[in-house]
């Protein structure tokens, strides 16, 4: 039972444009959301997070938006760079403090 869904397996964006990665969740008890980036042969790297009490969090080129009523979050990368090409995972936590629930990932390709 997939509680975190990333319905786009892949996304291709031109360098300098905006990348928007989407994530939906079904468990209304999730209260903390994270995005991880993963390069081949490496573990996931924490990118940005957002608590359910906020609707936006920004860190440099990366912004995460949370729409609780729609159970939807998105990651915006502006401007996109070729080094951003990686698999992006959305994850959610039910205030357990330990068990992250991951989506299947979206493979982002940023072309020059």
């Amino acid at each position: 039972d997939q509680q975190v869904k990333q319905n786009s397996p892949s996304l291709s964006v031109q360098e300098g444009r905006i990348s928007i990665l989407n994530c939906d969740y079904t468990n209304s008890m999730f209260d903390y959301f994270l995005w991880y980036k993963k390069y081949p042969a490496e573990g996931p790297t924490f990118l940005i997070s957002i608590s359910s009490i906020k609707d936006k969090n920004e860190d440099g080129r990366f912004t995460v938006f949370l729409n609780k009523s729609a159970k939807h979050l998105s990651l915006h990368i502006v401007p996109s760079q070729p080094g951003d090409s990686a698999v992006y995972f959305c994850a959610a936590d039910e205030n357990s403090g330990y068990a992250l629930n991951f989506g299947k990932g979206t493979s982002l390709l940023v072309t020059p």
Binding site: V4, Q6, A41, G43, G97, Y98, A99, L100, F102, G103
Partner: protein
Amino acid sequence: DAGVTQSPTHLIKTRGQHVTLRCSPISGHKSVSWYQQVLGQGPQFIFQYYEKEERGRGNFPDRFSARQFPNYSSELNVNALLLGDSALYLCASEDFEQFFGPGTRLTVL
């Protein structure tokens, strides 16, 4: 400053065998979590240990077990390996966020 380390990086086993995977957390982190990532899927939570005690367990059979040592390093053990256990096994250590190691790629033939 060393990150999370895991060993071995790759491992090939046959069905029915057992395997032990090892993880060393970031210095100062007392919590270690284990995840299984099957090809094409996101990581799936297996265990978390904090101060040598199991704090949480995911939906995995009893063939999977783990422990944490006084130095906070951890081992994941899988008995009676099945083909479906072939995956990337990720270890994460945590202070506030979870920081992942590079993983151990297990192939069961």
